[in-house]
Symmetry: C3
Subunit: 348 residues, 3 copies
């Protein structure tokens, strides 16, 4: 995310006295127009023309700042909320994307609040079709938490391309009996980025112990009050210059107490092609298979293609096509979703 020019101006143009500190207002405005279609076996299909926010990336508004405390130590904060540019709602300007304060220095960085998980960062750092919201990606998330509340996160320094991160989130839902445990979330990553190579491994474990689950809308709700969901991801990309190859494999596993496990095996692969003159094309395919107790439950396939044309470093237009097909195995039932849109993204 780029800092707004307000802060850059203050820092860069108005003199050295201001170099010690900055507060910046920044954001992203992304709107697209397109057509979405849903096709369900035995039900029929429906399509609609829409104007939506965040076709490429989620629109957002944020405030962030950094204060130089001397000796390389810094105090940092970030507040970032999602925007729906098509109707003006702003997550209630709750800062539902990021909200944290912390310290950074030679030791790395500590963040306290509601940061993204290390798993989520590794998930985003290499993804097909520009990691856009319309990327094919894996589609089975099983109650995944990308930015849990009440989190302590540590980011290591960069050691010759290697870096790691660890986060622990408190569920704060412990019931009154002294024997009860609170829910928690553990997430960590080990990444490598050097020259043309980006690669990473990440793990996330979401434990629902209390009576109030971390994610009350998650899949666990319908099955059991408690349990555990884990994610293991290997992700990376290699930039050949004329083309960039991206791909990843992920396993998600839900272990509800007293019920059979549900497991999703997933992969995605993609190619980004820079055509010059600010023009890029990205293509991706993803596949996810859900099984439980050795029985296949469903199979989801996604395909996406996107093109973007840069109007400046901060502004581009794009066109996107995405299609996903989910088959319920053994029934022949299918749900097909199609999306086509053109949009504009402006970063400030």
């Amino acid at each position: 995310m780029k800092k707004s020019l307000i802060a850059l101006a203050v820092l860069g143009t108005c003199g050295a006295a201001m170099a010690q500190s900055s507060v910046s207002l920044y954001g992203m405005a992304d709107v697209w127009v397109g057509r979405v279609k849903t096709d369900i076996t035995g039900v029929g299909s429906a399509s609609e023309t829409v104007l939506e926010s965040g076709g490429f990336n989620t629109s957002r508004l944020g405030f962030k700042g950094s204060e130089d405390l001397g000796g390389g130590l810094k105090a940092n904060f970030n507040l970032e909320g999602a925007l729906a540019m098509d109707n003006g709602t702003a997550g209630g300007l709750s800062f539902n994307r990021q909200s944290w304060v912390g310290l950074s220095g030679g030791f790395g960085e500590i963040q306290l609040g509601k940061p993204w998980t290390p798993y989520d960062d590794t998930r985003s750092m290499a993804n097909d079709t520009f990691n856009a919201n319309f990327a094919s990606s894996w589609t089975t998330w099983l109650g995944y938490e990308d930015n849990p509340n009440n989190t302590i996160r540590y980011n290591s320094p960069n050691f010759g391309g290697f870096s790691g991160a660890f986060a622990y989130s408190l569920g704060e839902d412990r019931a009154s009996s002294p024997n009860n445990k609170a829910s928690n979330l553990v997430s960590f990553s080990l990444n490598y980025a050097n020259g043309p190579i980006v690669a990473g491994f990440a793990h996330q474990s979401q434990k629902v112990e209390g009576l109030n689950g971390i994610d009350s809308t998650g899949i666990l709700t319908g099955l059991a009050a408690t349990g555990k969901t884990t994610y293991n991801l290997l992700n990376g990309s290699y930039d050949f210059g004329v083309v960039k190859l991206v791909g990843g494999v992920n396993q998600a596993k839900v272990q509800p107490d007293g019920f059979a496990d549900v497991k999703a095996n997933e992969f995605n692969i993609g190619v980004d092609v820079p055509l010059g003159a600010g023009f890029d094309i990205g293509v991706g395919v993803a596949r996810s298979k859900l099984e439980s107790g050795g029985t296949d439950l469903s199979k989801t396939t996604g395909f996406s293609i996107g093109a973007k044309y840069a109007l400046s470093k901060r502004t581009f237009t794009y066109a996107a096509f995405n299609r996903t097909k989910a088959e319920i195995i053994g029934t022949g039932a299918e749900v097909k979703n199609t999306l086509f849109g053109v949009g504009i993204q402006h970063n400030f």
Copy 2:
């Protein structure tokens, strides 16, 4: 709306390097103290002393920016939310007034998101009593939408004083059957502004086709699930220097499917008098008559007088008086509302 001085400082004082881009925080704080009275035939009257937000104009907080893309092309965005200064609520800092991103250049301007409609702009450009919130104006709006969601708006360049605008809003409420249509809103205007003359014609058509109406709180809800409401407006002002004359005529027509049409014929007229030394007085009268199937339903008359005293270019104090009387024809029933207040408005 004025840009905040933050951005102006960056642009104007801190050097040419920053001339390419700006993000500004801006707003308006408007609070008044006064007395409101309601008098209903056969029920009696009640009055109360109040301290309210937005007596003259709706208080607001916004962010906007523009990036020069070269060759006259610009990327623009705007996020603006209403504020209630008297209790601190902020439309949930949803940006419920404006929220859009777009491009502008020699061709005019495109806005995608939630802009004001062209009709609404023409409605606001010439109005009695400074177009303040206490202006007499027409009072029968019949489910009027001033800034619909999911909108594409085009503003033409200015041709010797003439300019036009067109907007199309997607209802996005199409039900699943392939035969159903989605709601939509069309709004356009043709305006002329040159020297002392401001004049414009504007049309708006709100079609409710889906099962979820564009405006679920509108008058259509009680009558039928679907239908159409249209507005046709002729509006203008002439500035004689010692006095400015403003006036307009409007017709609003509701056509609910399966019910009789309801039609409102409305006009307003007003005079603004600059008294010098920052002191201005504005007076306005408005009349609206509602009929259906040739039968008059109700008649509403509004009168307003306001005075403002400028403390600076961005700050003024004001006093306002407004009275409206609505008669239900044939019953003798009347509702009278009276308001008196003094306030201050500060723009930042």
Copy 3:
């Protein structure tokens, strides 16, 4: 509250042209990690590890500005909302802390909107344990309003250390009968601050007259629809240099119509010790006794100790311990709350 460096930079570094006006974005990010424990007689105890926002002071985000109108007169505004840094919610970015516009000059200052009450300012200006949120303080607030809606506030100029303030808040809940009155709140203070001495007297009276009380969650709700609550406070501190002594006495009295009065007599006392090198320790004890009709109802004792270590003028870390014990007199029933935490606060 400090203005953000954005505005300071504009004013201080970018030249005299900008000295006339400023809009600043500012805030505070305060997060802590700790353990809370509740112990109730006959029920047992429960404790939990938490990561929370606002251990020392409530996290916040605000916008404020001032415009020089000439002749010493200024137009001012302030919008400030509370933040929960641990989950990103932001009071719905309603500006639920402060929201006002006004004028200031030689005559003092007028604020219209939702400012803090004069009583609340006197309450905060001298308090044990750094006036932190974990300070022992008095704990019986009986429906206290610290920043009521619909308020007119006047602040006097400073006369050789003496200053006063007065506020009147409109309930705006008058029922339709002409005989009914609206609720209101009156608050005023007289303070003295000179050299080592800070002292003040403040009074607040909350009258609930309408059918909708000012504070629908207050204690009055359960007792009667109408009544009055008053607060009288004497508060101060003396800085001996090596140590600062703080203390205060307060009387809160609830007078519900048709029910017996309930009265709370309270005091608190504390000591702040600067240990040098940016390290400070503060200790406080508070006691509150609730009685009605000559019968003691309950007794609450609070103890707090806090330490802070300054990383810069705007950033510090802290550790806090707080314990409160409430006894219901005559029953032997007790509720004990214990809190321990370490945190960081960053001001921007």
